[in-house]
C-alpha cells in the first residue's frame, strides 16, 4: 500500500527504515527495530503499556503512526538501563516490588520518567494522577507510587 522511508533516532541510535503507513509506532519499535520492551496491551490508547517518550514527551505508541515519527527522537524502556545497571527509577521499582508480571512496567517506567523530567518533586497525588493513564492488574499501584517517589528523591540527591 503506502510505504515510506523514515529516519529517526531511537534511544540515541539513528534508524532508517521503510514502513507501511498504517503501522503504528509500537509495532514499529517492536517488530522493525526489535525493541520488544515496549508492550501492546489494548491498542486503543487506554492501558498505557506502550507508553514511550517522543521528542521528550510521553506518548501512546499505539496511537502514533511510525511515519509520524520521521525525524523524531524516540526513547523506549531499553534506554533507561540494562539488567546489570538499572537506572535509579528501575532500581526503585525493584526495591519496592513495583512490578509483578512486568507487562505494564515499561509503560509505567516511561510515564514516570517523563514526569520526573518536568517535575522533580512530585507529590503522591501527582504521581497517582499521571499513573491514571497506565493500567496495572497486578500491583494495586501503591508500590509503583512508592517507587516513583523514591526515584524522585534519589534523583534529587544525585543530580
Amino acid at each position: 500500500m503506502s510505504a515510506r522511508k523514515i529516519s529517526l533516532t531511537v534511544n540515541g541510535q539513528a534508524v532508517e527504515a521503510e514502513v507501511e503507513a498504517r503501522v503504528n509506532l509500537a509495532d514499529f519499535v517492536r517488530q522493525a527495530i526489535g525493541l520488544t520492551g515496549t508492550h501492546v496491551g489494548c491498542e486503543h490508547g487506554v492501558c498505557g503499556a506502550c507508553t514511550i517518550i517522543v521528542d521528550g514527551r510521553p506518548a501512546r505508541a499505539c496511537l502514533m503512526l511510525a511515519v509520524q515519527a520521521d525525524g523524531a527522537e524516540v526513547e523506549t524502556v531499553e534506554s533507561l538501563g540494562t539488567p546489570e545497571a538499572l537506572s535509579e527509577l528501575q532500581q526503585a521499582f525493584r526495591d519496592r516490588h513495583a512490578l509483578q508480571c512486568g507487562f505494564c512496567t515499561p509503560g509505567m517506567l516511561m510515564t514516570i520518567e517523563a514526569l520526573l523530567r518536568v517535575e522533580a518533586s512530585p507529590t503522591r497525588e501527582q504521581v497517582r494522577d499521571v499513573l491514571s493513564g497506565n493500567l496495572c492488574r497486578c500491583t494495586g499501584y501503591q508500590a509503583i507510587v512508592d517507587a516513583a517517589l523514591d526515584a524522585a528523591k534519589a534523583r534529587r540527591g544525585t543530580r
Partner: protein, 775 residues
C-alpha cells in the same frame, strides 16, 4: 539449617530483566517463516452457520490460508476435551477449535486466516462470506432457568447442566430451633481477566522430527500439552509446551482454549510457524469471564446473633460451554461456611448455560461470592438485631482452640474440609484496632461537616490454598556450582523465580544469586498442573524444599566419603560442605557435582547415584487454609454518589511468609481486584447477548488515582500440613474485598437505606439508595 532467605524481603531475581525491557512474552517470539493468524468470530450470540466462503479472502494480499474446521480434519477433529471432568457432566460441554455448525456466543471462533502480517490477515476477514441463521438467545442465567426459555444449545433438553448441592447437619432442625431467621437475595457480578497481556500462542512444527513446539501465555502449559496430545493423537513427548514470560493470568489463562488448538492445527496444516496474539477486543469476547451469580439465602442465628445455619440456592451463569467443567460453581460451594462454625447448612447451585462467553474462575474463583453472601448475612444479623457487626462475627467464628476444625463442607474432590490452623477472631480484632474503629464516629462527624458520608466496613474470609495433587520440582547442582531449580509451575508475575530460589538457597547453603529457576517448559520438567488456587508456594515450594534436602543429603554423603569424615560432622555453608568447627576441611558443591557428573573410568562413591540432583513431589492432598480480615473506610459524595475508599487495612495469615515483599504485593493487587469488582468492573450484555462494554472506556478497571494505600498486617500461623509451613497468598486479598467495601458503603448510607445485596454498585445506584433513605 540456616534460614537466611526464607522470610526475608529479598528483591526479585526476575526483575532486572523485566525492568530493562528484556522479558520474553509470547508476542516477542519471532520465528523464520512465521505466519500471523486471526480468527473470524461469530457476531451473533446463537446461530447456525449456513454458509462460509473464503474464496475472495484467499486472494487478498499476503494471505496464505483460510481454514475452517473441515480443512483441519486431517490433524484433529471434534469438540475439545474437558479440562476438569465432573461426574454430573455426563458428556463434555466443549466447543470445537473452530465452530462448523452451531455457534453459541459472540466471539466463538469459526475460521482463521493466516497471512504474512496481522494487518493483512485482518484485512482478509472482511472478505470471508459468512451466513449465519439466528437462533433464540439465552442472555442471562435467570432467563435461562425460567420455564419456556430458549435453549442455549439447540440439542439440549435444559439449560441447567448440573445442580450442585452442599449440605451438613440437620438444617431444618437448626432453622426450626433458631431464635431468628433472615432472608436475603444477592446479585453478584464479577468481571473478566484483563491481564495486561492478552492471550497469545505460537506453534512451530518441526517437519523433520514430527515434533510440535508451542509457546502459550498460559497458567497451565502442561494441561495444554496433555489435551493437545490427546486431540492430535500424538505422544506428549512429541509436543513441547512452554509458558514464557506471561503478563498476568488471574484465572482465565488457566483454561485450555480453542485458539491454542486451532493455532497448533493450523501450523501442522500449513507447515509454518503460526502466531496468534489476542487483541483486546478479542479478550473481551473470547477470554472466559466470571460474571453472574444470583443467590437466595436464609440465615438462622441465636438470640445473641451467633450464626447457626445457612440455606438456599444459587443460579450460576455458566456461559456457553463448560471447558473447565464445574470448577467455578464447585469452588463457590466449597467455600461455605467460610470462617463461621455453622451447625448446619444446605446449599444448591443450578449451573445454567447461557449464550455468553464461558465462565471460569477469576482471582478468588467462587470464593469472593461465598464471602460476599456470608459477610452480608453477618451484617444482616447485626442490622436486624442492632448488634455491632464485629460482634456477630466474633460470636460466629470458628475459634482457635477448635483447630483443626471439620466444617461439614466438602472439597471439590468430595473430601471433607478441615481447617488447619489460625485465629480468625484475632485477625478481625487486628483490623478493628488498626483502622481505629473506636474513634470512627468522630471521623464520620467530621466528614459530615464537609457534606460527605463516611462508612466503615469489615469482612473476613477463609481460603483453601495449596490445591493438590502436586506441583513437582527438581534441584540440580551443576559442575560450576550453580543451583538450577526446575518446576512445572508457571509464573504470571507471582515471583516464583525468587521464592523457590530462596527455599533452595537455604537448603543448600548457597548465595541466592547462584540459584536459577526454570519453569513451565515441558522439556525442562516433565509434569505440571496449573498455577491456580493459590497453590504454588505450598505445592512447588514444598517440593523444592524436599528436592533440595535430598540434594543436600547426597552432597553430605559424598563429601563424607571425600573428606573421610562422618556425615553427622558435616555442615553445608557458602557453597561448601565442611567439617563443623574445621572450616578448612571442606569440599565445594561444584566439586561434588563434578564427581557425580562422572568421568570415564573414574568410579563414583558406592551407593550414590550419579548427578548432584533430586526431584521432589510434595503430596499436597491436604489443604492449607489461609484466612484474614479486612476493614476499610469509604467516603461518599451524596450528590454524585461518588465513592472513594479512603483507608484500607488488611490482616492476613498465610502461614510462614517466604518473602514478605512478594506476599504484600499479592495482597495489595488482590484487594484492588476486589475493589474493582465492588465499584467498577461490569461486563454488560444486551438481551441479544451482545457485549456492551468491550473497550477500556466502557469496562472500567481500577485506576491508580482511585485506589487507596493499603496497610497490611501479617499473622504467621504455620500450616502443619506442609514442610515449609506456608499457605497460599494469591487470592486472600481479593476474596473479602468486595464484601468489605459494600459493608462500608452500607454503613455510610445509614440504617434507613435499603440493605445492599449486590455488586458492583455504581454512583447512580448509590444516589438512588440515598434518595430512598431520605424518603
Amino acid at each position: 539449617m540456616s534460614t537466611r532467605y526464607f522470610g526475608a524481603a529479598v528483591p526479585r531475581l526476575e526483575d532486572p530483566r523485566l525492568l530493562a525491557g528484556r522479558g520474553t512474552y509470547v508476542d516477542d517470539i519471532v520465528l523464520p517463516g512465521m505466519l500471523h493468524a486471526v480468527f473470524l468470530r461469530s457476531s451473533v450470540a446463537h446461530g447456525r452457520i449456513r454458509h462460509l466462503d473464503s474464496t475472495a479472502a484467499l486472494s487478498m494480499p499476503g494471505v496464505r490460508a483460510v481454514y475452517a474446521m473441515a480443512d483441519l480434519a486431517g490433524f484433529g477433529a471434534g469438540p475439545m476435551p474437558a479440562m476438569a471432568p465432573h461426574p454430573l457432566l455426563k458428556t463434555p460441554i466443549t466447543c470445537s477449535p473452530l465452530a462448523s455448525d452451531e455457534v453459541c456466543y459472540v466471539g466463538e471462533a469459526i475460521a482463521m486466516v493466516l497471512a504474512d502480517s496481522r494487518a493483512e490477515a485482518e484485512d482478509a476477514l472482511a472478505a470471508i462470506e459468512l451466513d449465519i441463521e439466528h437462533l433464540p438467545v439465552v442472555a442471562n442465567a435467570r432467563q435461562g432457568i425460567a420455564d419456556g426459555a430458549p435453549r442455549a444449545h439447540s440439542g439440549r433438553d435444559s439449560n441447567v447442566i448440573a445442580t450442585l448441592r452442599g449440605s451438613h447437619g440437620n438444617v431444618d432442625a437448626v432453622f426450626a430451633a433458631a431464635a431468628h431467621r433472615f432472608s436475603e437475595t444477592f446479585e453478584i457480578h464479577r468481571g473478566g481477566c484483563h491481564a495486561m497481556e492478552c492471550r497469545g500462542v505460537v506453534a512451530a512444527p518441526e517437519p523433520r522430527s514430527g515434533e510440535l513446539s508451542l509457546w502459550t501465555s498460559s497458567q497451565s502449559p502442561y494441561m495444554v500439552r496433555r489435551h493437545l496430545a490427546t486431540y492430535l493423537g500424538h505422544d506428549e513427548a512429541d509436543i513441547r509446551v512452554t509458558a514464557p514470560d506471561v503478563g498476568g493470568g488471574f484465572g482465565p489463562k488457566a483454561n485450555v482454549y480453542p485458539e491454542e488448538f486451532a493455532v497448533a492445527l493450523a501450523a501442522l496444516a500449513c507447515g509454518h510457524p503460526v502466531k496468534w496474539i489476542e487483541d483486546r477486543q478479542e479478550h473481551f469476547l473470547a477470554t472466559t469471564q466470571q460474571r453472574d451469580q444470583f443467590w437466595s439465602l436464609e440465615v438462622a442465628c441465636d438470640a445473641a446473633g451467633r450464626m447457626l445455619g445457612v440455606r438456599g440456592r444459587c443460579i450460576h451463569d455458566n456461559g456457553a460451554y463448560a471447558p473447565y467443567g464445574l470448577i467455578l460453581p464447585t469452588t463457590a460451594l466449597a467455600s461455605f461456611p467460610g470462617p463461621y462454625a455453622l451447625a448446619a447448612f444446605d446449599l444448591s447451585i443450578d449451573v445454567v448455560l447461557t449464550n455468553l462467553v464461558p465462565t471460569s474462575p477469576v482471582r478468588g474463583a467462587g470464593r469472593p461470592n461465598a464471602a460476599f453472601v456470608l459477610e452480608r448475612l453477618a451484617d444482616t444479623i447485626a442490622r436486624r438485631l442492632n448488634l455491632p457487626r464485629e460482634e456477630v462475627r466474633r460470636r460466629s467464628f470458628v475459634r482457635a482452640e477448635q483447630m483443626p476444625y471439620v466444617t461439614g463442607g466438602k472439597m471439590r474432590d468430595g473430601s471433607p474440609v478441615a481447617y488447619d490452623s489460625g485465629d480468625y477472631a484475632r485477625a478481625l480484632s487486628l483490623v478493628v484496632d488498626k483502622i481505629d474503629a473506636a474513634s470512627f464516629e468522630e471521623r464520620r462527624a467530621e466528614a459530615a461537616t464537609r457534606g460527605r458520608l463516611l462508612g466503615l466496613g469489615f469482612a473476613s474470609c477463609v481460603e483453601d490454598t495449596g490445591l493438590g495433587p502436586f506441583e513437582g520440582a527438581s534441584v540440580r547442582v551443576t559442575p560450576a556450582g550453580k543451583v538450577v531449580v526446575a518446576t512445572g509451575a508457571a509464573s504470571q508475575g507471582q515471583g516464583h523465580a525468587t521464592t523457590l530460589a530462596q527455599i533452595a538457597a537455604d537448603a543448600l547453603g548457597v548465595d541466592l544469586s547462584q540459584v536459577t529457576v526454570k519453569a513451565a517448559d515441558s522439556r525442562i520438567f516433565p509434569l505440571g498442573i496449573s498455577t491456580i488456587a493459590s497453590r504454588v508456594a505450598v505445592t512447588a515450594g514444598s517440593s523444592v524444599e524436599i528436592a533440595a534436602r535430598k540434594v543436600r543429603d547426597k552432597a553430605i554423603k559424598v563429601a563424607a566419603h571425600m573428606l573421610e569424615a562422618g556425615e553427622h560432622d558435616l555442615e553445608i555453608e557458602n557453597g561448601q560442605v565442611r567439617v563443623v568447627g574445621v572450616p578448612d576441611m571442606n569440599v565445594p558443591l561444584s566439586t561434588i557435582a563434578r564427581v557425580l557428573s562422572g568421568s570415564a573410568g573414574v568410579p563414583i562413591p558406592a551407593g550414590v547415584e550419579p548427578d548432584l540432583a533430586a526431584t521432589g513431589y510434595f503430596d499436597a492432598n491436604q489443604l492449607a487454609f489461609a484466612y484474614g480480615s479486612q476493614a476499610c473506610e469509604v467516603e461518599i459524595d451524596p450528590e454524585t454518589g461518588d465513592t472513594r475508599i479512603t483507608r484500607y487495612v488488611v490482616a492476613h495469615d498465610c502461614g510462614r511468609l517466604i518473602n514478605p515483599l512478594i506476599v504484600d504485593g499479592q495482597i495489595r493487587g488482590g484487594v484492588v481486584h476486589g475493589i474493582g469488582n465492588a465499584l467498577f468492573e461490569h461486563m454488560r450484555h444486551d438481551e441479544a447477548g451482545q457485549p456492551l462494554t468491550a473497550t477500556y472506556a466502557d469496562y472500567l478497571l481500577p485506576g491508580a488515582a482511585e485506589m487507596p494505600d493499603i496497610e497490611i498486617h501479617h499473622i504467621e500461623t504455620p500450616s502443619p500440613r506442609n514442610p515449609i509451613g506456608a499457605k497460599g497468598a494469591g487470592e486472600g486479598g481479593t476474596i473479602p474485598a468486595a464484601a468489605c467495601v459494600i459493608s462500608a458503603i452500607q454503613d455510610a448510607l445509614g440504617p434507613e437505606a435499603p440493605f445492599v445485596t449486590m455488586h458492583p454498585v455504581s454512583p447512580e445506584q448509590i444516589v438512588e439508595w440515598i434518595d430512598q433513605a431520605r424518603k
